[in-house]
Symmetry: C2
Subunit: 228 residues, 2 copies
Amino acid sequence: MAHILLVEDDSDIMRINQSFLEKEGYDVHCADSVQQAAFLLEECVPDLVLLDVMLPDGDGMDFCAILRQKTQAPVIFLTARDENDDVIKGFRSGGDDYITKPYDLNVLKARIEAQLRRNAKPEAQHPRIELPDLIIDLFSGTAELDGNTCSLPQRELQILYLLASRLGSRISYHEIYEKIYGCDVEDSKNTIRVNISRLKKHLAMDDMSTYEIASTADGEYVLRRVIF
Amino acid sequence: MAHILLVEDDSDIMRINQSFLEKEGYDVHCADSVQQAAFLLEECVPDLVLLDVMLPDGDGMDFCAILRQKTQAPVIFLTARDENDDVIKGFRSGGDDYITKPYDLNVLKARIEAQLRRNAKPEAQHPRIELPDLIIDLFSGTAELDGNTCSLPQRELQILYLLASRLGSRISYHEIYEKIYGCDVEDSKNTIRVNISRLKKHLAMDDMSTYEIASTADGEYVLRRVIF
DNA sequence: AAACTGGATTACAATATTGTAACTTCGGAG
DNA sequence: CTCCGAAGTTACAATATTGTAATCCAGTTT
């Protein structure tokens, strides 16, 4: 599924590479000049770039700089020049690999896969609080209590998140309000009270639930795990 | 500010401890029996418990079990029994410290502080993505672009979060929709389009911004850092 | 030049969110 | 027993959110 930008001025080599890569399942976009490559960049950011060093209208290494403004996609230089100095220059200009012609197509494939693998961004794991029988997911805006998932409005989710992040400890409504609204006001108490009430109802939190929200005499709240 | 539950049946010792601890700035609740202590637990969860082992209506160590159902607050046993077996039994029953009478009040204070310190829950740091000039905070539901903070509706925040978690990589609207709604549908494209449009407007994202949301020809989006 | 295509934006209506205020409960004090 | 007060719940009205559909707009194609 990955998109590869292939920049190569030799039409025979381009054709061979393109058909091979497409056969391997890649989505290949081709350019035979720096200009055309820059143009393609505008409409499709590739996951990887195969770059010939010598192009009719410029140096592939110079193109690297342009490319880097658009993406961190790995660049593999393809060139006949195998002098150490050239290789070094290639890497120094921002390349991630350097393959000298002629090369084996399966080696090319392996190097491409290696680059994509290394470059693969780790899936951003959703920020969540996971307690036994209570999961709070800030990305999806949902909470799961005793296996029952429900979507919560922001305010209720924020309160639950704060309570859960301090399971068993008291938090004053002042602090909750302050954390959510950035400042405290005169009757923050009522607002928090109402939203906690709504939260309980949304979560269907009752005597049978594994957790309870208790309030102390002096305006503080605690989320507690109830053990029967 | 911490709440301490003091359970002690000797009224003299209780009075001395209570006045000392209150002078030190603690909020002290007293009980002279297991029953009363259990009752106080209902209305105020303490941050720490000072527990005499021998009480008129039961053993302090048994009370520990009841206590643990309500809170993970540290328990310090206060007792005249200094046999190794007693000490071991105290810790085994869930105690966090064990002080034998008579004790120095300042030692008591030091031990209390140590317990509260160790038990202090680390502030839950908000889950957020921080890029240069772009911060996305899922807890507060806000994004800050180029120093300009604004609150975003859930859908826009989710999209921005997904894009930012893969800065520079393409994501298809299919994938965005799938990640947000849990399934894909026929015209997910329009929904995502509209919300991205709203997102740009909310963020005041324009030619001058450090980031842009670009779309490729085949229905994919990329968040890119723009370098001038 | 007219028609067309497909993305971007705007309009709109149904729904959801949320602070405030009114109301209900319930335990303790008088 | 009644009254009081505080916590919990419900009602309500002003806003905000959001999917759908209509409109706009810039390139192409005919």
